[in-house]
Amino acid sequence: MSAAISTYSKSDYINFIVLMVLGFLVIPMTVNSDYWFTSILIPWLCLALATIGQQVIMGYTGQLALGAAGFMAAGAFACFNLILRVDGLPFFGALIISGLIAAAIGIVFGLPSLRIRGIYLMVATLASQFFIIWVIDKFGWFKNYDSSGIITAQDIVIFGRPYTTPVDMYLVILVVVTVMTILAINMARGSTGRNWMAVRDMDVAAESMGVSLLKTKLQAFAISSFFCGVAGALFAFTYLKSLEPVAFDIKLSFKILFMCILGGLGTINGAFIGAGFILLFPVLLNYLGNNVFHGAIDATIISAMEQVVFGVLMIVFMIYEPLGMARLWENIKQRLFKKKNK
């Protein structure tokens, strides 16, 4: 089926229903360890959402941006301040406004993309990363003049009911991520996504077809930052449970970049695959370190090796499968499917 057809195919609906049943019923009922919720599922969903943001700007629109964590920080602190300062603002309202604030900042820092590309743009977006974090750090207002540097995030309250247990928070995030993923897929498959990809693949031709580079790039920056902003707010409120600018440093931006690239540029499911891999691989390594080598390997060495593996994978994917794990997964599915038919 052509990606151009925005109405969904039968298999899309089946996939959707299966995933929803899994996410909303099976997982909450079968997983009974808090560890899985707080350390795996919650960060996975949050970071996958941020990675969708990175996909929009980098995978779909082809703009090498490296500042996702900065926009996440903007979203997180916006949400904190909104809940703190606006009485009666519902959580989801705060979340949406946080995303919008991040989007507005994204537009400002996306402006250079109209003149520059590639590594030049990357440096320009690094400016946003460092600048946003600095502003939050240096102006006490953002942190409610808390001198300790670490502020506890407020509890999530929806219609008067607090959502503070791991399962509750997981469900809240799952709702947000589900809705936003559907929106992202709709855009990616529809005319919006085609304009992004046209700009990515051949900007001069896109412009000659009437696609405004200015509008399309800034729109992509805004939407990308919106996703990152919401993801950042969720990340701070459910996973970190605190707000500190250093949690959103350049390393997190790189992490999201890796999730995006290894998952597969220009795919939405790649965002989930990439985020899952980057999160789970260290867990696996640690498990091996503890249970197979019985702690004989130093933890720092394990984390160094994990970095080596990510780096090697990045190079290998660039050389052999630039479309990442999502494409690998497609290929595997196709092969399995063909065998069944025989």
Binding site: W134, V204, F254, V308
Partner: protein, 301 residues
């Protein structure tokens, strides 16, 4: 002279000298860009890898010079394997693809260095104190760190020798030919292999020297990678393909960030050095995308 003005000069001179340290990182980047047309994002990681290995070898008991030579050998191996395993397979890919591969390479080098030598911060004593030189202070009233002055001298020396190497020797001519057309270089009788060996070795030496100077100041630690990131705005200002550009860019970034930090920083709680170079680079980009010394890029349709 008034003490205000003296202080201003002190800030500028300190900034200029510190800027040469950025220049050294940028220099390695330019070398590789000239030879392989690759934005080598891993240059910062190479700096870290080189100096950590150097300190590591010394901890193993190698004397200073031997450790230096061994590290250079190691860097040549790193460089050549990078060229062979990363750059060459991606030769016909887009610039962006290559750039991302070098981001991966950076991760590999940082990881390997830490796996081999550990993560703790090392002190590196080059025998050059990071204190003001008193006789200069006494003579003209400006405090200049001996380390800064050494960095400046080393940078100047490296630039001059690289400039001589690339403009006065046959190999240098070959390098310029390679940048335009790899076939042409072979046809004038210089094997591509030798040129690559030379360039990557030179980049390795530059990385090691930059690492030593940075390490002596800030300690040999992972944070060097982030410091090395500042070579990017330097390159944007100087132009990715220009050796003098790397130097001038470093001087501009170094002095501007210090002046801004000292005179404007206090109004905003300081630490604007962290982002000022990047913002400066962005404004620069919008005015002059090819950098001060870069060749103007004309996109053909």
């Amino acid at each position: 002279m008034g003490s205000e003005i003296l202080f201003f000069f002190e800030v500028v001179v300190g900034g200029l000298l510190a800027g040469t340290m950025y220049s050294l990182v940028a220099l390695g980047f330019v070398l590789i860009y000239k030879a392989s047309a690759t934005f080598n994002f891993a240059q910062g990681a190479m700096v870290f890898f080189a100096v950590l290995s150097f300190v590591g070898f010394m901890e193993l008991g190698l004397p200073f010079f031997l450790a230096f030579i061994v590290t250079i050998g190691l860097m040549v191996i790193v460089g050549l394997s990078t060229e062979r395993l990363v750059i060459r397979p991606l030769m016909n890919q887009s610039e962006d693809t290559l750039l991302m591969a070098t981001i991966g390479l950076g991760y590999v080098l940082e990881g390997l260095a830490q796996a081999a030598w550990g993560v703790e911060v090392r002190r590196l004593d080059l025998g050059i104190p990071d204190f003001p030189i008193m006789f200069i202070a006494d003579a003209i009233g400006i405090f200049i760190s001996a380390l800064d002055l050494t960095a400046g001298a080393v940078a100047a020396f490296m630039v001059i020798s690289l400039a001589v190497l690339f403009t006065q020797t046959k190999i240098g001519l070959g390098l310029r030919a390679v940048a335009d057309d790899p076939g042409a270089a072979s046809s004038i009788g210089i094997p591509l292999k030798h040129i690559m060996l030379l360039v990557w070795s030179a980049a390795g030496v530059v990385a090691l020297v930059a690492g030593c100077l940075w390490g002596a100041r800030a300690g040999v630690q992972f944070a060097l990678v982030d410091l090395a990131l500042k070579a990017l705005p330097v390159l944007i200002i100087g132009g990715f393909s220009s050796i003098p550009g790397a130097i001038v860019g470093g001087l501009i970034i170094g002095s501007t960030e210090k002046v801004l930090e000292v005179y404007i920083g206090p109004f905003f709680g300081g630490a604007i050095e962290g982002w000022a170079p990047y913002v400066l680079a962005v404004f620069f980009l919008l005015k002059r995308p090819e950098g001060l010394f870069g060749e103007k890029i004309i996109r053909r349709v």
